[in-house]
C-alpha cells in the first residue's frame, strides 16, 4: 500500500440548500399594532388613514405602512392568532446549509461528513437538516461547479485506487483517475537515477517537471544505490523515484552532514573534483571538515586558501597543525596561518616551512631552538641592537631628569633653543611611559632620536648657563 499526495482535477459542485419555512416569533409592539389594524380596519385606505392620524408625517408613518402591508397579506385566522398569543408568523428563508457534491465519485460532503450520492436530492433532506417547521419550499442553488486541480491524498492498494474525502477513503476507478490526474512529465528523459518499481508507506508525491528540474539544479550530486543525492549546504537530499500504476512518484530523504564521516568525505571529494568547493558556504565547508579525516581536511584547506582568503579556514588549519599535521602544507595556506595565528603558534608554522618567515620581529618571537642558523644569528644581532638603544636612552633620560634643566631654563631669556627644549621635554613627558619590551626596533630608534636631540639641547643650555656664571 502506498499513499501519495497529488493534485487531482476532481469535479466539485457546491450547492446551497435554500429552505423557506413558516415559523413564529414573538411579535414586536409595532407588528402587533399593525396586525390589529389589519384585522379591524375595513380596507387599506382606512388603515392608511388611521396610520396618518396617529403618526402624522413623522418617521413612524412609513414604517407602520410597511408593517401594515405585510400584516394585510395574512388571513383573518392568522391575525386572530396574533391577537391571541402575540406570536407573529414569519416566512424564514434559511440559506445557511451547503454541501459539496463530487459527480465523478457520486458522493457528497455535508457538515464534514460523507454521504453516498447527491445529498441535496435525499428524500428526507429536511429531516436531515433538523428543520421542524412546515417547509414551503426548498431549492438547490449551485454556487460553484469546477474541476480545478486540488491536492488530495490518494492510496494505492493492490489494484485499487482510493481517494480521501471527508476523512474517508472513496474508491476512485482507474479510468477516472487517469482522466483527472494530468501530469505532462516532459522532463522524465532527464532523469538518470534508478526508477524503482516498488513503493510503500506514505510521504510520496507525484513527480513533476519542477521536481526533476530541481533535482538537477546543480552539478553537485552523486548517486547512492541508484538514487540521486543532491549536495546542499547543510545536507544531502536524496530523491527516490518510483513508478506506480503508469505514473511516476517520488519521495525525499534528507541526510544531514553532522556526524556522518563517510558522507562528509564523499561530498568533499566530489566538490574538489567538480572544483566547486569555493562556491560552498565556508560555514558548511567547516561542518564537512569537522567530520572528515584530517588529511582530507588538509587538502581542502590547502585548496581553498590558495584561491581565497578565509580566517575561519586558516584557524581550522592551525588547529590541524597543533594536532600534528605538520607536513604537506602549501605556502599560501601557511602564509594565511601567519596572518591569523597568535604569536604562540609562530614556532609551529615556522617549523612547517622556515623559508616563509623573514620578518625579524616575527623571527624574534619564534623558539630559538627551531631557527635555522642564519635566522638565529640575525635574531641575536637584532636583540643586541635593541638592548644597546634602550641602554643609551635610559642613560640620557637619567641625566636629563637629574639636570634640573626644566627649572633652570625658566631663568634664561626665551630663545629658539629654550622654546625647542620645552617643546621636546613636554613631548618626552607625554611619551615617557614607553614599554621597551613591546616596542619594535623602529619605534626605539625614533624615540632615541628625539631623546638625543633633547639631550644635546640640555648640554648646550648647560654650557650657556655655565658661561653666564
Amino acid at each position: 500500500m502506498v499513499q501519495i499526495n497529488l493534485k487531482l482535477s476532481l469535479r466539485k459542485i457546491k450547492n446551497i440548500i435554500e429552505v423557506s419555512y413558516n415559523t413564529f416569533e414573538k411579535a414586536t409592539y409595532d407588528q402587533y399594532l399593525m396586525a390589529s389594524l389589519a384585522l379591524r380596519s375595513k380596507d387599506k385606505l382606512s388603515a392608511y388613514q388611521y396610520i396618518d392620524d396617529i403618526t402624522g408625517s413623522g418617521s413612524l408613518n412609513a414604517h407602520f405602512k410597511q408593517l401594515y402591508d405585510k400584516a394585510h397579506k395574512l388571513d383573518e385566522n392568522q391575525l386572530k392568532n396574533i391577537m391571541g398569543n402575540s406570536m407573529y408568523p414569519m416566512l424564514k428563508i434559511d440559506k445557511s446549509n451547503s454541501y459539496d457534491y463530487y459527480p465523478e465519485l457520486n458522493v457528497s460532503v455535508f457538515n464534514n461528513k460523507l454521504y453516498e450520492g447527491d445529498f441535496g436530492k435525499y428524500e428526507d433532506l429536511i429531516q436531515r437538516l433538523y428543520i421542524q417547521e412546515e417547509v414551503i419550499e426548498s431549492e438547490l442553488i449551485e454556487k460553484r461547479n469546477n474541476a480545478n486541480p486540488e491536492p488530495y491524498s490518494v492510496r494505492f492498494e493492490d489494484d485499487k485506487i482510493l481517494v480521501k474525502i471527508a476523512e474517508e477513503w472513496v474508491n476512485l476507478p482507474t479510468e477516472i483517475f487517469q482522466k483527472i490526474f494530468v501530469n505532462d512529465l516532459t522532463s522524465i528523459k532527464k532523469v538518470k537515477s534508478e526508477i524503482h518499481n516498488v513503493a510503500d508507506g506514505s510521504g510520496w508525491y507525484a513527480l513533476t517537471n519542477a521536481v526533476i528540474n530541481n533535482m538537477y539544479s546543480s552539478n553537485n550530486y552523486f548517486y547512492d544505490n541508484g538514487d540521486l543525492c543532491l549536495i546542499r549546504n547543510d545536507d544531502v537530499r536524496k530523491t527516490i523515484i518510483s513508478q506506480l500504476a503508469g505514473f511516476y512518484i517520488y519521495k525525499e530523504e534528507i541526510i544531514p552532514y553532522a556526524g556522518n564521516k563517510d558522507l562528509c568525505e564523499k561530498v568533499l571529494n566530489l566538490l574538489l573534483e567538480n572544483k566547486s568547493i569555493n562556491e560552498f558556504k565556508t560555514r558548511s565547508v567547516i561542518t564537512l571538515l569537522t567530520y572528515s579525516d584530517d588529511l582530507i581536511a588538509q587538502s581542502v584547506i590547502n585548496y581553498i586558501l590558495a584561491r581565497k582568503d578565509s580566517k575561519e579556514l586558516a584557524l581550522m588549519g592551525i588547529k590541524l597543525l597543533v594536532r600534528g599535521i605538520e607536513k604537506n602544507w602549501e605556502n599560501d595556506a601557511l602564509k594565511s596561518f601567519m596572518t591569523y595565528a597568535d604569536s604562540s603558534k609562530y614556532s609551529l608554522i615556522y617549523k612547517a616551512n622556515p623559508r616563509l618567515v623573514e620578518d625579524i620581529q616575527m623571527l624574534s618571537m619564534i623558539n630559538p631552538d627551531f631557527l635555522t642558523p642564519t635566522h638565529k644569528k640575525k635574531v641575536e644581532e637584532y636583540k643586541q641592537n635593541r638592548q644597546a638603544i634602550i641602554d643609551s636612552i635610559q642613560k640620557m633620560v637619567g641625566e636629563i631628569a637629574t639636570s634640573g634643566m626644566r627649572e633652570k631654563t625658566k631663568q634664561l631669556k626665551s630663545t629658539d633653543k629654550t622654546r625647542r627644549f620645552h617643546k621636546l621635554i613636554q613631548r618626552y613627558d607625554a611619551h615617557s611611559k614607553i614599554d621597551y619590551n613591546q616596542a619594535t626596533l623602529n619605534d626605539l630608534e625614533k624615540y632615541s632620536k628625539e631623546i638625543t636631540e633633547l639631550y644635546d639641547l640640555m648640554k648646550e643650555l648647560q654650557n650657556e648657563i655655565d658661561k653666564e656664571n
Binding site: L37, R40, G58
Partner: protein, 836 residues
C-alpha cells in the same frame, strides 16, 4: 465660457501630468485663488501683469481633479502673450469638480498665445468675478495656527493605557437621585470623597421593578486596573482617569489607532474607587460577547479623530473644493456679508402648525432660520426655550422640506435634549445617534426607546384617529399584547432613511472616509450651545451641508483650550506668539465673533422670554442682558418651592448671605473660603428642615473653585449624603459643569474677599451660576468686595454688576448676615444673625 489661449512654461518635474493638459487642445477649467495677489504692469499701473497663486482645476475622468497652481499673466518675451507659470501640479481624488467654486474657462496651452492686451482684459475681468477669489484673507493664517495646534496636541500625547486586572460581572446600580426605588443602605456606593453616589440592587429586585423604574437603573461593571510603575501610584492613576473621563475605552490591544474607531467600546464613567492600593473604575459599557478586554485606554481618540476630521474639512475648504462650505465660511468668519432672504420670512400654511406654540421671539427665530438663507444665528439666553425652537425648526425641515439635518453640540446632554423633544409627540422624528457610548437613540437601542416613548403614550395617540370605533377596537387588542416590548425599527431601516443625525462636535465615531459617508445627503447643520464651541469644531461638519443654524449665547461660558500654556511650554513645537494667537482664536467663540455680523445682516434673533426663573431671580441675571428678558415663568408655572416657615425663605426668592469675617485662602492656583463653606452648610441644613415636600425639590451648590468643592465635600460628607437622600437631587459642582442644567434652589459661592485677580470678573461665570436657579437663589459672599469687582461686557464700559445685583437683593430679596450661626429676626427683608 471664455477661450483663453496661453503660452506655457514648464519648470517642474512632473511632466507626465502636465502632458494631460498640454496637448494643444482646449480644456474646460475652473480658475480660483485663495487670496487675490495682483502684480501690476509697470508701464501702466492700472493694468494687471500677473495674478499670483492661481489654481487651474481640471476635471478628471472617474473621480477627482487635476490641479495646477501657479501664476497667470503676461509674458513680454517672444512670442509675447498670455502665460501660465506652473509651480505645482497635483491630483486630488477627493474633490468633486462640480462642487468647486471658480470661474469657468476653456484654456488651451499653445505656442501662439493670446495677445497681451486681451490677456490683461481677461485678468481684469477675473479679479472682479465673485467666484474667482475664495474671499477669506484670514484663512491661511488660520490654517497655520491650526497646524500648530495639531502639532501641540500630538506632542502632548496624553494617552495612557492601564492593564485590566479584572472586570466584574455587570450589576444593577440605582443613582442616588433616583428616589422611587427602594434600596438597601448597606449596598451604598460612595465616591473617593465618601459621598454616596448610588446603591447596588440585586437582580431579583431589578426584575420586580416597573419598566419605567428599570430605565432609571444603570447596569455597571467594575474594572480593576493595574497601577504599576508605568502609571505611577494609585492617586496619579485616578487623576488621569478623571481627566480623561470622556475618553475611556476598553480594548483588546494595548495600542489603538484611528482604524478602530468604529469598533471601540467606550466606557461611560460613573465612579472611581480605591480598594487598598488598587483603583476600581466603574461605568457603563456595551461589552461584546466573547471578546476579552485587556486594557483600559485613556486615549484621546476624540481629540485625534476630531483633529483629523477638522483637518480634512479645512483641506477641502482650502482647495475651494467645497462650494457651500467656502461660502458659509466667508459669511461666518470672512468679510462677506451674510445674505438674508427677508421676503421668505413669513408664516404660511405649511409653517403655521410648527409655530403655533412658539412665543414671538421664538417665532421670529423660526421664520428667520427657515427663510432659505444659508446662515442663521439664534441667541438663546438662559431659560428661553432654545431646544423648543430647534425642535420646531427640525420638524419643519424634515416634514415639509423633506430635507436632512445634522444636530450637533459639544455635549451629549445637549444633543439628547434636542432629540428628546423630537421624540416627544405622536408624529415623532426618529434620529440616528452616532456615538461610541451606549445611547438611547443609537443602534438597536432605538427599538426599545420607541416602546418607552411612543408606545407608552399610545392611548393618547390613538385618540387622534378619525375613526374612533376602529381606534377603540385596536385599543382593546393592544391590552392583550404580550410580545417583545420593542419596535422592529432598526432592522427595517437603513442609514439613508434617517432624516436627523445627532453627533457631538468632538465625537470619535465619525472618522475616516467611511465616517464621512454618513454625512452625505445632509443639507442642514444645527449646532446647539455653539457659544461653547471653538471655531475648529464648527468647521468640522461645514463642508457637508448647505445651511447652518447656530444656537447659543455669547453671554454664557466660552470655549476653553484643552491645554494650558504650562502644559505645552516645554514641547518642541511650542512658540509663544503662536500660542497666544491660538488661545485667542480658540477661546473666542465663533458665535460671539459672528454675532455682530449676523445682527447687521438681520441674521440674528435673540429669544427674549424667560420661562425658567421667578422674577426676582431673573432680575439678578437679566442685568447682563440690559433687562431685555421678559419674565414668563410665573405664567407657565405659578407654583414654587414651599417652606414650612413662611418668614424665612418663602416670601422672597433671592438672598445674599453676607459672610462676616470670611477669608479667601489660596490652595495652589485654586482658592477657598472656610467661613463661606460653613454658611453654605448651615443654610443647606436649614433648607432641609424647612422645605416642604423635599422629595420633589432639586437643589444645587455651585462653586467657582475646585478647592472650595474639595473642602466642602471633605468637611460636610454626612450633610451632603443626607441632602442627597432628602431632596429629589442635590448636586455640587463647578460653574463649567453646570451650564445647561437647572434646579429649583441654587446656592452660589463666590469665595473671594480680595478684589483683584479672581475670575469672578468674567461676567459669563456669574451669569451662568445665577441663571441655573428656577425658584430660589442664595448668593454667598462679601458684599463690599463683590461690589467693587468691575466687569466689562463685549467691549462695553466697565460696570460693577455685583453692586447692582446686591442693591436689587436689598430691595427685592433678603440680606442675611452670617457670623458663625443663623438667627432670624422679625424684619421681613433683613434676617439678623446671632454672633457667637
Amino acid at each position: 465660457m471664455k477661450n483663453f489661449k496661453l503660452g506655457f512654461y514648464l519648470d517642474i518635474k512632473n511632466k507626465e501630468m502636465l502632458d494631460l493638459v498640454n496637448d494643444g487642445e482646449g480644456h474646460d477649467v475652473l480658475l480660483s485663488t485663495n487670496r487675490l495677489n495682483i502684480e501690476h504692469d509697470n508701464r501702466d499701473q492700472r493694468l494687471i501683469k500677473t495674478l499670483k497663486e492661481v489654481k487651474l482645476i481640471y476635471e478628471l475622468e472617474g473621480k477627482g481633479c487635476l490641479i495646477l497652481l501657479g501664476n497667470l499673466g503676461c509674458d513680454f518675451r517672444q512670442p509675447m502673450g498670455g502665460m501660465f507659470f506652473c509651480k505645482r501640479v497635483y491630483i486630488d481624488q477627493n474633490v468633486d469638480y462640480h462642487a468647486i467654486k471658480g470661474v469657468e474657462m476653456n484654456i488651451c496651452f499653445s505656442n501662439y498665445p493670446l495677445s497681451i492686451d486681451s490677456t490683461q482684459t481677461i485678468l481684469a475681468e477675473l479679479v472682479t468675478n465673485e467666484n474667482f477669489e475664495f474671499n477669506l484673507s484670514q484663512f491661511d493664517e488660520f490654517m497655520d495656527i491650526f497646524t500648530f495646534y495639531k502639532k501641540l496636541s500630538s506632542e502632548l500625547n496624553n494617552n495612557t493605557t492601564f492593564g485590566i486586572r479584572s472586570i466584574s460581572d455587570p450589576y444593577y446600580y440605582v443613582p442616588v437621585d433616583v428616589k422611587d426605588i427602594d434600596v438597601d443602605e448597606a449596598n451604598q456606593i460612595t465616591n473617593l470623597s465618601g459621598i454616596v453616589t448610588g446603591h447596588k440592587i440585586e437582580r431579583y429586585k431589578y426584575d420586580m421593578l416597573s419598566s419605567e423604574n428599570q430605565d432609571k437603573v444603570r447596569k455597571l461593571i467594575d474594572i480593576k486596573i493595574e497601577v504599576g510603575e508605568e502609571n505611577g501610584d494609585a492617586d496619579r492613576a485616578i487623576k488621569k482617569v478623571k481627566k480623561f473621563a470622556d475618553n475611556l475605552y476598553l480594548t483588546q490591544t494595548k495600542e489603538i489607532d484611528e482604524n478602530m474607531t468604529r469598533n471601540l467600546v467606550g466606557l461611560d464613567l460613573v465612579n472611581i474607587q480605591k480598594d487598598k492600593t488598587d483603583v476600581v473604575v466603574s461605568g457603563e459599557a456595551n461589552l461584546r460577547k466573547d471578546e476579552k478586554y485587556n486594557y483600559l485606554n485613556l486615549y484621546d481618540m476624540g481629540q485625534k479623530v476630531k483633529l483629523e476630521s477638522i483637518d480634512n474639512s479645512l483641506r477641502l475648504i482650502n482647495q475651494g473644493a467645497s462650494g457651500s462650505a467656502c461660502e458659509l465660511l466667508e459669511y461666518i468668519i470672512g468679510s462677506k456679508q451674510m445674505p438674508s432672504n427677508n421676503s421668505a420670512r413669513q408664516a404660511g400654511d405649511n409653517k403655521d402648525k410648527y409655530i403655533e406654540n412658539l412665543d414671538e421671539s421664538q417665532k421670529k427665530a423660526f421664520l428667520m432660520a427657515t427663510d432659505g438663507s444659508p446662515v442663521s444665528l439664534i441667541k438663546g439666553p438662559p431659560g428661553t426655550g432654545k431646544t423648543y425652537v430647534i425642535n420646531a425648526i427640525v420638524q419643519y425641515i424634515t416634514k415639509e422640506l423633506k430635507q436632512k439635518v445634522v444636530i450637533s453640540s459639544q455635549t451629549h446632554v445637549a444633543i439628547d435634549n434636542v432629540l428628546d423633544e423630537l421624540m416627544e409627540n405622536y408624529d415623532l422624528i426618529i434620529p440616528n445617534r452616532i456615538t461610541n457610548r451606549r445611547n438611547r437613540y443609537s443602534g438597536e437601542e432605538i427599538d426599545s426607546t420607541l416602546y418607552k416613548t411612543w408606545a407608552k403614550k399610545f392611548e393618547s395617540h390613538n385618540k387622534r384617529a378619525g375613526d374612533q370605533k376602529l381606534a377603540e377596537e385596536i385599543l382593546k387588542d393592544m391590552a392583550n399584547f404580550q410580545g417583545n416590548q420593542v419596535f422592529r425599527f432598526s432592522q427595517d431601516t437603513i442609514l439613508a432613511d434617517y432624516s436627523v443625525l445627532g453627533a457631538t462636535t468632538t465625537t470619535s465615531a465619525i472618522g475616516g472616509k467611511k465616517g464621512l459617508e454618513l454625512l452625505e445627503g445632509y443639507d442642514w447643520l444645527i449646532i446647539d450651545e455653539v457659544s461653547k464651541c471653538p471655531i475648529t469644531e464648527v468647521l468640522r461638519y461645514l463642508p457637508y451641508v448647505e445651511k447652518i443654524i447656530m444656537v447659543g449665547d455669547d453671554f454664557q461660558l466660552a470655549p476653553l483650550l484643552e491645554f494650558t500654556k504650562a502644559d505645552v511650554e516645554g514641547l518642541p513645537s511650542y512658540d509663544e506668539d503662536k500660542f497666544n494667537k491660538l488661545e485667542s482664536i480658540y477661546e473666542k467663540s465663533v458665535f460671539a465673533n459672528t454675532l455682530e455680523k449676523a445682527r447687521e445682516a438681520g441674521r440674528m434673533i435673540e429669544l427674549n422670554v424667560n420661562y425658567r426663573s421667578v422674577k426676582a431671580v431673573l432680575n439678578a441675571y437679566n442685568i447682563f442682558y440690559d433687562g431685555r428678558l421678559q419674565n414668563m415663568r410665573e405664567v407657565v408655572k405659578p407654583t414654587k418651592v414651599q417652606f414650612n416657615d413662611f418668614k424665612k425663605y418663602e416670601d422672597k426668592d433671592i438672598f445674599f448671605i453676607e459672610v462676616k469675617n470670611g477669608k479667601e485662602a489660596k490652595d495652589g492656583t485654586s482658592r477657598y473660603n472656610i467661613e463661606e463653606l460653613e454658611a453654605t452648610a448651615d443654610i443647606l441644613k436649614d433648607l432641609m428642615k424647612t422645605v416642604e415636600n423635599p422629595i420633589e425639590v432639586t437643589v444645587s451648590a455651585i462653586f467657582p473653585y475646585a478647592a472650595q468643592i474639595e473642602k466642602f465635600q471633605k468637611k460636610y460628607k454626612e450633610l451632603i449624603n443626607d441632602a442627597k437622600k432628602h431632596f429629589k437631587s442635590f448636586e455640587i459642582d463647578t460653574v463649567d459643569a453646570f451650564q445647561g442644567k437647572e434646579t429649583d434652589i441654587v446656592l452660589v459661592n463666590t469665595v473671594v474677599t480680595m478684589e483683584k485677580g479672581n475670575f469672578l470678573s468674567e461676567f459669563r461665570r456669574i451669569n451662568v451660576s445665577m441663571s441655573r436657579a428656577r425658584d430660589k437663589l442664595f448668593i454667598f459672599g462679601n458684599s463690599i468686595t463683590l461690589s467693587k469687582i468691575e466687569m466689562r461686557i463685549n467691549g462695553g464700559n466697565k460696570r460693577t454688576y455685583f453692586r447692582e445685583i446686591i442693591d436689587d437683593i436689598r430691595r427685592f430679596g433678603k440680606m442675611i448676615e452670617y457670623n458663625g450661626g443663623l438667627e432670624y429676626g422679625s424684619n421681613k427683608s433683613q434676617i439678623k444673625l446671632k454672633k457667637d
